[in-house]
Symmetry: C2
Subunit: 321 residues, 2 copies
């Protein structure tokens, strides 16, 4: 459904890259943009504009701003996470170096702001929403890094972190599209909440898929998050529910660097099964998904359009897009 929007966005991103000056600091920017991606954040911005004014291209600058901002965060997050790969290719700091990655990231964020400042569709409300979201995304990344060394994380803290780190940008892109399309404030906010809740459900689902994949993919490690001791919703729920004795064993297994990878995953998975952690996570995910659908149902658009958005939400969750 979003494929037409993706084509529009890819074309605009190509144009954006073609028009960059021939200075070396722009190379990492072209590189990361050309690594591709589903462009689903920016597609949603176009969709939202389309819903209300029938002309998605009115939000074209805003949509690629959302996509490019996401790419800026990827460049810097990859440095902070020490990630050698991005979309199966060397990450920017790996292909160039940390300095080039810091600076090209900064430059990309500046280019995003320049795009927004030069858009015909700009408004104070859009600027405020976008920059509030930028602040929140940084806060989310900060909490994510803090959680690595924090022992007790509550479900609320976890949800807050993933919403800041991931969902608010999806929500912001949708609301900006709606505002460009001249939606009323109620509908624009409902689309924001749809994005926030859908993004949250998506991220929880991502945690689940790491351990319980829909189908095993060649070369993909099942339980990668377990091996990285990542504080996923599964681990958070497990540490909350488990008995004192089991908790000691769980931490021992997680900290054991000698044990075989697959055995480590299997052992933790056994604990997940013992405490019904998958069901708990699925339940939370479904709650957010249902909230997202509730928001769509309340938007003042035709039933047809509502069905389209819901179909997209279902496809996204089942990773069909």
């Amino acid at each position: 459904m979003l494929v037409n929007y993706k084509n529009i966005i890819d074309r605009e991103l190509d144009k954006f890259c073609d028009e960059l000056p021939p200075m070396s600091i722009y190379e990492p920017i072209k590189y990361i943009v050309e690594l591709g991606g589903k462009r689903f954040r920016s597609s949603l911005t176009l969709l939202a504009a389309d819903l209300f004014c029938g002309n998605p291209e009115l939000a074209l600058k805003e949509s690629i701003a959302v996509e490019l901002f996401h790419n800026f965060t990827l460049i810097h997050d990859d440095i902070m996470d020490g990630a050698p790969l991005r979309r199966s290719q060397p990450s920017v700091h790996q292909k160039w170096n940390v300095n080039q990655a810091i600076l090209s990231g900064d430059l990309l964020y500046a280019l995003v702001n320049k795009l927004l400042a030069n858009s015909k569709s700009q408004s104070t409300e859009i600027h405020q929403l976008f920059q509030q979201t930028s602040v929140e995304v940084c806060e989310g990344q900060s909490l994510d890094m803090e959680f690595e060394s924090k022992e007790n994380i509550s479900l609320d803290e976890y949800i807050n972190m993933i919403q800041l780190k991931t969902s608010v940008l999806v929500a912001c892109g949708l609301k900006i599209g709606a505002l460009v399309g001249e939606a009323g404030p109620k509908d624009a906010n409902l689309l924001y909440d749809f994005g926030l809740n859908l993004g949250t459900a998506f991220q929880i689902h991502d945690d689940i898929l790491d351990v319980y994949p829909l189908k095993e993919e060649f070369g993909k490690q099942v339980g990668g998050d377990i091996l990285e001791k990542k504080k996923t919703i599964l681990l958070i729920e497990l540490l909350k529910k488990s008995s004192k004795e089991d908790k000691v064993s769980i931490i021992q297994v997680l900290e054991d660097d000698e044990i075989d990878k697959n055995l480590k995953v299997k052992k933790i998975k056994n604990f997940y099964n013992k405490y019904g952690v998958l069901e708990l996570a699925e339940h939370t995910k479904n709650q957010y998904f249902e909230k997202a659908i509730y928001c769509v149902n309340n938007i003042n658009i035709s039933e047809d359009k509502k069905q389209q958005i819901k179909a997209f939400a279902v496809a996204l969750m089942s990773r069909e897009i």
Copy 2:
């Protein structure tokens, strides 16, 4: 002359820091802002507004945005330059770590954009100018890093680099102040050009002072730029003017890591004297300073106000402020 403005800015920066949320990622931001500084960029923004509307505080948000943007660049530049100190205190990445420095810098830039998006004085023209300037500052830092490993740099390339890295932000702050004060486009542009040329003269003077200080300061290494092999205007002019034989000797001295520091500085200084490089640099500096004064003379304000700005420019160049 700018002391009243500085007081206003320091008060507003205190307020800004006080209102930051109690999350750890905001600590490096408070830290760098509280390290202080002359605040001369932001003072100029207030001055410019004052000149045209008599109410500097109309540009208060914009002025601290300029100051905070400068602080954001300091955090990231210090990482890239591997600088352990900032204003005689540990730099952010030294006191925390590189990840915290990257992220708090990103967050600070986002906060700057949020400030601008929430200002009552905002306009499309201000947003465009500010973000174009942000792009240019990143380009300037990129050229500065490139020059480290580049052999032949022309004077034009050098001037372009320092203007992007330093002068455009001074110029931008002045023009934004003028726009907030409702100056006409001609006057606003003259103030921009005043800032661009003054900033350039200032930076050239900085290169000169490193080797020819007005007075020797305790604990300050004369010729620090020579020891760092920095491509200053002096070195660029020297490499351009020197004979083939001398050029070989100069490069030998610069690359010699065994030689005594003071002897190295003395030897390069002898070459500077032999080729009259100080005079060449002074000449270029004076050209930019005169251009700056020419701009002031053409602004449509009272003679009194022109004298004030010129007195400020003279004081800045002689490092009295």
